[in-house]
């Protein structure tokens, strides 16, 4: 059974959510359940508090990030995005990936942090466009396959962004 993380916050299960409201609700719940509220309580209460606070943290992280929020919405509909096994992508997206990877290597070799920063902005822009598409796709029952593919694309981009971050770290440490 897939747990519905929207329920914990009393939010409707959809892609468009008010992130500020989510922040507020998250803090409100943590104010009630966080282990710091139960430092002097019985061990039964401390355990329960740790479980609930852990759950609230997990739910918050999943809903806050657009990629994981979309993935979660699909999971609630019984759709697995198969990000580990299904790596088939349209040719133009694969090309873009390769270009980015090459750009990371080139910029790293040239110790060009600005180029990496620009690349990061570029990936963010592409990610935003994909997120816009998700708004429409997730609301149409017949577009679920397309939504799953968009989530896979976003997850690719997340990895590229992490790699850009690593590359920048390496250069700045040197």
């Amino acid at each position: 059974m897939q747990k519905n993380h929207f329920e914990l916050f009393g939010l409707p299960a959809r892609f468009s959510i008010d992130l500020q409201a989510l922040d507020q609700l998250y803090r409100k719940i943590q104010s009630e359940v966080h282990p710091d509220r139960f430092a002097a309580a019985s061990s039964a209460e401390r355990l329960k508090s740790m479980q609930l606070a852990t759950e609230a943290n997990e739910a918050y992280q999943i809903l806050k990030n657009p990629t994981s929020r979309a993935r979660h919405l699909l999971q609630l509909q019984g759709i697995d995005t198969h990000e580990d096994s299904n790596t088939a992508m349209p040719a133009d997206f694969l090309m873009l990936q390769m270009e980015w990877r090459e750009a990371i290597e080139e910029a790293s070799a040239a110790s060009d942090i600005d180029a990496l920063d620009n690349l990061l902005s570029e990936t963010r822009k592409t990610a935003r466009q994909l997120q816009q598409q998700l708004h429409a796709l997730l609301d149409q029952p017949d577009a679920i396959a397309a939504a799953a593919e968009t989530v896979r694309k976003l997850s690719f981009i997340d990895k590229v962004q992490a790699d850009i971050g690593h590359a920048i770290n390496k250069l700045q440490d040197a």
């Binding site: 914990l8 916050f9 009393g10 939010l11 409707p12 468009s16 959510i17 008010d18 409201a21 507020q24 609700l25 803090r27 409100k28 719940i29 943590q30 104010s31 009630e32 359940v33 966080h34 282990p35 710091d36 509220r37 430092a39 002097a40 309580a41 019985s42 061990s43 039964a44 209460e45 355990l47 329960k48 508090s49 740790m50 609930l52 606070a53 852990t54 943290n57 997990e58 918050y60 992280q61 971050g165 920048i168 770290n169 700045q172 440490d173």
Partner: protein
């Protein structure tokens, strides 16, 4: 007119009593204890009026132990038996400690954590730290006139699991009830934020005696949310002293010198560094044992040159923390300076240049951590109202498992908000494989050999299956103290293994009990008395907690359920009057089990209540 309240005869008024709770900053160079009195956080002084307790322990020839200034005065005379900066060795092996050559100790390379040979025998850094904590505990109990209900002890945010566990063990050895381990920069943020009613994104730059931490926090209406933390758990003010020391050796062309002279020159280095905070140059004179006279002048610009590399080393972690938080420099509203080493003008200038704004220095950088810890201790002990101050902290370093080929598979990423749990499924590699060895590591590197090994344990009794058929779910749980427990379960057969991460480093439970016993040098009856005392304290705590819960939320229980709990409470309070610590302990467990359902209902009700207060319209987009 307010009505006077009269307690029912025999009913304890304890839940409303002000509990004595303290915050302790167990520092590399100095330690402090603070408490909240009449809603003000204040540092407690010793009888001579000192706030700081030098973190120095001297094992004397007559068998007694000196801590603090008296011990510090001995460090040049008796360097082998005077332990300074023990915090640097907490939870660390010999290979983790860089330049042991310059340290006057006889290290013993024991697995997990290094130990030190002294005239009082072999001492673990945990025992040395416990001596410091005992003195602070006495100071607090003397000042506050009663036994402490609990303490919050601060640790560098960048401390790993081994270092945190070692700190908690030290507190236990000192007889302290640890309410929480709190990250030093977070403690500083609490003191600063509450004092200045700060809102927005703040960076805490904490350069202590031996550790460097940077934390990025968002402060909003009493919620202190750590967004990212980074640092270097082996970089601090001590390193600046050592740079000056090396410069002196070079300038004065000194051949290898004795441990006594090393200690003396290191002290001179520290004094020169401190002098240069307000002066342009410092004269250093010292008469060595062989009669040689060292007479040098260190200028402020020379110090800048010597410390440049060290200061630069603090900037990389700041960049990383900001990137992890997804923030740029111009989004930072203020930078709070913490730790004695941030008094150095060279450090302040570098930080001001980096952020393009002057850092905030209006709270004493030596005291701010203890002050914040005291505020948190006061909250945790239940002395404050319910809806103020919430700290959401993170885990500083990723946690993972070793997989095929010596690679680390990340399970919990760094900067995940605590408490956090993650599960990951693994499978068997060979046909008929019945056991699986699980190696838990912490760190950011890809190779297991580059990460810190936290624990190894085995899951045995997996039913023989084809390779890849077993499903082993490994669950990591990190609690609010940042401490990890790991459990593994084979899903098809239900075979389980669980450990609180501990055995592969530091002290085993047996070793701690042994230390507790030797430190009290007690006869068998004393041990029993101690066990009885602990059981009684535990039962008292539980009875108070449940009485408070019943008074508040008793309506969540049926009459029958209430009666069951009341009977168990009655049984426990009767037993607590007897001498049987085992029976008391069992009754505590029974009462805990009997209240599990009540605990769950209370928690659910409070969450519902919190959400009910929200205007649903604001949630619709």
């Amino acid at each position: 007119m307010a009505l006077l309240q009269i307690a029912e005869p025999g009913m304890s008024t304890a839940p409303h009593q002000h509990k004595l709770a303290v915050g302790i900053d167990l520092g590399t160079t100095n330690s402090l204890v603070a408490t909240v009195r009449s809603s003000m956080s204040t540092v407690l002084h010793d009888e001579e009026g000192h706030a700081l307790l030098p973190s120095v322990v001297h094992y004397r020839a007559d068998g007694s132990i000196e801590v603090g200034y008296a011990a510090q005065a001995q460090q040049s005379h008796d360097p082998h038996n005077t332990i300074v900066s023990a915090k640097r060795f907490m939870g660390r092996g010999l290979k983790d400690i860089g330049d042991t050559v310059q340290l006057p100790y006889q290290f013993i390379d024991t697995p997990g954590m290094v130990q030190i040979q002294t005239r009082a025998g072999i001492k673990s850094p945990v025992e040395v730290s416990a001596e410091i904590l005992k003195v602070l505990k006495q100071r607090a109990e003397h000042a506050l006139g009663g036994e402490l209900a609990g303490a919050v002890i601060t640790v560098p945010a960048y401390f790993d699991d081994a270092q945190r566990q070692a700190t908690k063990d030290a507190a236990r050895l000192a007889g302290l009830n640890v309410l929480r381990l709190l990250n030093e920069p977070t403690a500083a943020a609490v003191a600063y934020g509450l004092d200045n009613a700060a809102e927005g994104v703040y960076v805490i730059y904490d350069l202590g005696g031996g550790t460097f931490d940077v934390s990025v926090l968002r402060l909003s209406k009493g919620v202190f949310e750590v967004l990212a933390t980074n640092g270097d758990s082996a970089l601090g003010g001590d390193d600046f002293d050592r740079r000056i020391f090396c410069w002196m050796l070079e300038e004065a062309k000194l051949s290898p010198i004795s441990p006594e002279d090393t200690r003396q020159l290191l002290t001179k280095s520290r004094e020169a560094k401190e002098w240069l905070t307000d002066h342009a140059e410092a004269r250093i004179t010292s008469l060595l044992k062989n009669g040689e006279l060292v007479d040098l002048t260190l200028t402020s610009s020379k110090l800048k040159e010597l410390s440049q590399h060290l200061i630069a080393k603090t900037l990389a972690p700041i960049r990383k923390a900001l990137r992890d938080a997804g923030l740029s420099i111009d989004e930072v509203k203020g930078v709070v300076m913490v730790g004695g080493a941030t008094r150095m003008p060279q450090v302040r200038h570098a930080v001001a240049d980096f952020f393009g704004q002057d850092p905030l220095t209006n709270l004493d950088p030596d005291k701010v951590v203890a002050l914040g810890a005291a505020i948190q201790a006061n909250v945790l002990a239940g002395n404050r109202g319910e809806d103020d101050l919430l700290l959401l902290d993170v885990i500083p370093l990723s946690l993972g498992l070793e997989t095929m080929g010596g690679l680390a598979e990340r399970i919990i990423p760094r900067n995940a908000t605590l408490p956090v749990a993650r599960a990951q499924d693994f499978t068997t590699f060979k046909d008929g494989q019945t056991a699986m060895s699980i190696h838990v590591v912490q760190g950011e590197r890809e190779l297991v050999s580059d990460c810190r090994s936290l624990a190894r344990f085995e899951l045995r009794g997996i039913p023989p299956m084809a390779a890849g058929a077993a499903r082993i779910r490994v669950t990591f749980q990190v609690d609010a103290d940042g401490l990890l427990s790991v459990s593994a379960r084979e899903q098809t057969s239900g075979v389980e293994a669980h450990i609180v991460v501990k055995p592969s480093y530091g002290l085993s439970e047996d070793e701690i009990i042994n230390m507790l016993e030797t430190s009290f040098k007690s006869a068998e009856t004393d041990k029993q008395a101690r066990a009885l005392q602990e059981a009684r304290v535990e039962s008292q705590r539980l009875l108070e907690a449940i009485a408070a819960a019943l008074a508040k939320d008793g309506a969540l229980l049926s009459a029958n359920e209430k009666q069951t709990i009341n009977e168990k409470m009655q049984a426990l309070s009767e037993l607590a009057k007897t001498e049987d610590s085992h029976a008391i302990h069992d009754a505590v467990e029974a009462l805990n089990r009997a209240t599990e359902e009540f605990a769950a209902r209370r928690m659910d009700a409070s969450v519902k209540q919190a959400l009910a207060g929200q205007n649903l319209k604001t949630l619709e987009l």
